[in-house]
């Protein structure tokens, strides 16, 4: 009879749908695991920034977050009180194992070691940044950085 044979085929069809689904879930799980492992291994290396604060005094700040905004906006991590600095002037961010500096379409531009910044650029230790007319100096913990770079 055709019916039992077709029943086997029907069971096979439903099974293959569920294997497809199960496989998709397995891949998602693997993907999730590698992503989370990558994230735990990718700690942000500490960064130290020296700049002149509100009262014209030199200020030094340490960060362990992967994103730092610079600008005249009081909510910026580095609040630069100067008329040549835009509200959201520039951004420092850590990804792909490097610190990147990016200009946020500021009015007076950002320079890195004297050169005008056009695209997001990798920064190294002791680089000098200028937002408008405000200079900043960056120190990176090089040991952490190299360890991470190798890990990737």
């Amino acid at each position: 009879m055709s019916a039992p044979f077709l029943l086997i085929l029907r069971i096979g069809m439903t099974l293959s749908l569920y294997i497809f689904m199960g496989w998709a879930f397995l891949l998602l799980w693997r993907n999730f695991k590698t992503q989370s492992e990558l994230l735990t291994s990718r700690k942000t290396p500490p960064i130290t920034i020296t700049y002149s604060g509100l009262d014209k005094k030199q200020k030094t700040k340490h960060f362990r977050t992967p994103e730092i905004t610079l600008g005249r906006d009081p909510h910026s991590e580095i609040h630069l009180e100067n008329e040549t600095v835009s509200a959201h002037h520039a951004r420092l961010s850590y990804h792909h194992g490097q610190w990147w500096l990016e200009d946020l379409n500021s009015k007076n531009g950002t320079t890195l070691n004297g050169e005008k910044l056009k695209t997001p650029t990798i920064i190294l230790g002791n680089d000098e940044i200028r937002c408008g007319k405000m200079p900043l100096t960056i120190y990176l913990s090089t040991t952490d950085l190299s360890a991470n770079t190798q890990a990737l």
């Binding site: 019916a3 077709l6 085929l9 439903t14 293959s16 749908l17 497809f20 998709a24 693997r30």
Partner: protein
């Protein structure tokens, strides 16, 4: 990202669709229960088209966008393959067209991969894009057509190829809104100046769709607009406002717009009008119920009973043929698809692409939920398509364009630039949660209709599958007490036919008809005749699993004696009335005649309206007044008994009831329970006696009964007889008769009713039946 992983998914989707095609090919054999049939091959063209396009797309995608999300394309490809084969199964002509549309859609997607600056262009020309979409939609007001040549006319007809611009309009609106909001939101100025242009353009689009009566697309547009605005601004008020607007539209529409009122009324109470407005949705629920847990198998269900199964109701068709198991898989895969595209949105390299990706997710998610929910009566029905799956070129093309954009965004997010800063992840979480909750609710409701309510739905008389099963499963025969055939099944599987060998009994034994339903014994003992009762539960379950049909029906034996019956029918043939002859001791009905009668072999509409009511079984359903003489007979000394029904029925009785009174007189005052169906022939234990229809009742004392019939016995005949005629507007003749108390043979009792004043005929019949009594 691991590109190799996605390669593992294709063998399984290929296997799944290959098995689907194989089952579909073999399905005619199962239907006919024989290998000697015409197998189906045409849909393999669809399968191989899908396979080739899949291979082609994979090759190009790997070359052009190797870093794309690895799940999106395999999922979309499974959806479109599943939809394509389902359409082939439903309507092969449409399957061929859909294969061509799939080829076109995949080609357009692959060509789109070469367009590097696609996002820059889309962002720059957002107004032109949306305006052209609006213009095209507006043009359908003038040049609109409909493939079925009815309203609404939402399509353009290019020599037989129909395009629906409102499908594209949804996509263009998403692009426009994302581009506009990505440019404006960071400035964060006041809310209403911000959204004013979008409100204006969105309003025009909405107005166009409302004028076009494309309410499904209109409601998607409203929800899509709110979702994108919420994603871009993060203001919850937007969602709240959207809900209020939709409810308000629903409320006012219910009271002032006929179209919306009808849609909502169907949704709220489809059972009020199951053959009219509620027909489509109730047929849809029955199809889902027929699918049950495991489904009927490709090509083996009957999804075509649901109107437009290939487009609006394709989810129902899938539910019937692959069951809850299949739809749960489908809904889960939709869930994975939507979650992945939301992840793409979060990882997108810039604000425009992020809003765009979430807008596309909302578009695909909302549209899927609207139509799946509509099929399941979770939501009012809106005639929109199920993305990737439903029949429709414009819909498929639009789905693939959305897929192209999502794939490209996912590929770019793996580049060097970090994803832009996110103010709050809440809008993304909330939107994803709403879509996933919608899918889960659909799955639960699907289970409710398929498993919990399924059995009830399938036994509804408007389930066309019951009548269809009658063509494939032999129904039990109905025999008389000497095994002479009365109603039998003839023909062979696929063409089984009910034949009524003794047509005069049509009003008594009844009929079963695919158009007119069932009556009489055919209706009251349908369970045995259909094989659902009397067979072992495992056999019923197994047959349902294999064929979706009950096992072979069981034969029934009635107490009627065709020899006696023929005699009575001949005498009664030109008259109106009823005759019931019973065995006074056992209650078995030997003769039950009702005239005028009809021939169930030649059923037609005219019978329903005939003045003489031939369909009525006068012996059991006819209610006649008792004459004064007959009524007071039992009330007069020395007996003084009132008939049990004389008071309750206000003196109206059926001939069968009077026959049982006569039986009590001939049986020492005890009225036996009447029996018409004696036994059923089960496969396991042979003939099994069926229970009687009522209970034995003691009506008179034996002495009273004896005294009463002694009054009415005559010298010429061996039996007693009460004859009562009355000449008034009713003009009825009643005759009760029976064997005397000390009768040595089979005790018989008889009731005759004639709808005319004709004591001669009544006496003739009584004599014919009783004088020859053994």
């Amino acid at each position: 990202m691991d590109i190799s992983s996605k390669k593992h998914l294709f063998p399984f989707s290929t296997l799944f669709l290959g098995l689907y095609s194989l089952i579909l090919s073999l399905s005619p054999a199962l239907r006919a229960r024989s290998w000697d049939v015409d197998y189906l091959y045409a849909h393999w063209l669809g399968f191989f088209t899908w396979l080739f396009l899949n291979w082609l797309a994979e090759k190009h995608l790997d070359a052009k966008i190797p870093d794309r999300d690895p799940y999106l394309f395999p999922l979309a490809s499974l959806f479109s393959g599943w939809g394509l084969l389902t359409i082939w199964r439903l309507l092969p002509n449409f399957g061929l067209r859909q294969s061509l549309w799939l080829a076109l859609s995949v080609t357009v997607m692959l060509l789109g991969l070469r367009w590097r600056k696609i996002f820059i262009t889309l962002r720059r020309y957002k107004y032109i894009l949306l305006s052209s979409g609006l213009l095209l939609t507006a043009l359908t007001l003038i040049f609109g057509a409909n493939p079925l040549d009815i309203e609404p006319r939402l399509w353009f007809n290019f020599g037989g190829i129909y395009l629906q611009p409102s499908e594209l309009l949804k996509l263009l609106l998403v692009i426009y809104l994302s581009a506009y909001l990505a440019d404006r939101v960071p400035i964060r100025n006041k809310f209403f100046p911000l959204i004013f242009p979008t409100l204006f353009l969105g309003g025009i689009a909405l107005l166009l769709l409302v004028v076009q009566r494309d309410l499904g697309t209109a409601s998607i547009l409203v929800m899509l607009y709110a979702s994108i605005l919420y994603i871009a601004t993060g203001r919850k008020r937007v969602l709240l406002g959207n809900a209020i607007i939709l409810l308000a539209i629903g409320f006012f529409g219910y009271h002032f717009s006929q179209t919306i009122h009808t849609r909502l009324a169907i949704w709220l109470s489809p059972w009020d009008d199951p053959s009219g407005f509620g027909y489509q949705i109730i047929q849809s629920l029955m199809a889902i119920a027929n699918g049950g847990l495991w489904g009927r198998g490709a090509g083996i269900g009957s999804p075509l009973f649901v109107p437009v199964a290939h487009s609006d109701f394709i989810f129902t068709a899938i539910a019937e043929e692959t069951g809850l198991a299949g739809t749960l898989g489908l809904l889960t895969l939709f869930g994975i698809f939507l979650s992945r595209s939301m992840i793409i949105a979060l990882r997108a390299p810039n604000r425009f692409q992020r809003i765009l990706a979430s807008g596309l997710t909302a578009y695909l998610g909302i549209q899927s939920l609207l139509i799946i929910g509509g099929n399941l009566r979770l939501l009012p029905l809106t005639g929109v398509t199920l993305p990737f799956i439903s029949y429709g070129g414009s819909s498929l093309l639009t789905s693939y364009l959305a897929l192209l954009l999502l794939l490209k965004i996912s590929n770019e997010s793996e580049g060097s630039t970090p994803p832009p800063f996110l103010w709050s992840t809440r809008p993304y979480h909330l939107l994803t949660a709403i879509l996933l909750i919608g899918l889960i609710t659909s799955a639960l409701l699907n289970g409710w209709w398929a498993v919990v309510r399924g059995p009830d739905l399938l036994t509804r008389s408007d389930n066309p599958r019951r009548a269809q099963a009658d063509f494939y499963v032999p129904r039990g025969n109905i025999l008389d007490r000497n095994n002479a055939e009365i109603n039998i099944t003839t023909g062979e599987s696929g063409n089984y036919l009910r034949e009524y060998l003794y047509p005069e009994l049509s009003s008594v034994v009844g009929y079963t008809n695919s158009v007119y339903g069932q009556a009489g014994i055919e209706s009251s003992l349908d369970g045995y005749l259909r094989g659902l009762d009397g067979n072992p539960a495992t056999l019923v379950w197994w047959n349902n699993l294999l064929y979706g049909q009950p096992p072979n029906g069981l034969n029934l034996r009635l107490s009627l004696d065709i020899g006696l019956q023929e005699d009575v029918d001949e005498r009664l043939s030109k008259h109106k009335g009823a005759v019931v002859l019973v065995n006074a001791e056992s209650g078995e009905i030997l003769v039950m005649a009702s005239h005028p009668t009809f021939d169930a072999n030649e059923f037609d509409d005219s019978l329903l309206n005939e003045e003489d009511s031939p369909l009525l079984n006068r012996a059991t359903q006819g209610r006649y007044p008792l004459h004064q003489t007959l009524d007071t007979l039992f009330d007069a000394p020395p007996v003084q008994i009132r008939l049990p029904f004389a008071e309750s029925e206000e003196g109206f009785v059926s001939p069968l009831e009077m026959a049982m009174v006569a039986a009590a007189l001939s049986n020492e005052g005890i009225s036996p329970a009447p029996r018409l169906a004696l036994a059923v022939d089960t496969s396991q234990s042979g003939w099994v006696i069926l229970p009687a229809l009522g209970e034995t009742a003691s009506l008179f004392s034996a002495a009273d009964a004896e005294q009463l019939i002694a009054t009415f016995s005559s010298d010429e005949e061996a039996y007693w007889q009460i004859l009562s005629t009355q000449e008034d507007e009713e003009n009825l003749t009643w005759l009760l008769a029976g064997t005397p108390a000390n009768w040595s043979g089979t005790p018989l009792a008889l009731a005759i009713l004639l709808e005319e004043n004709n004591p001669v005929l009544a006496e003739e019949i009584a004599q014919a039946l009783l004088s020859s009594a053994p």
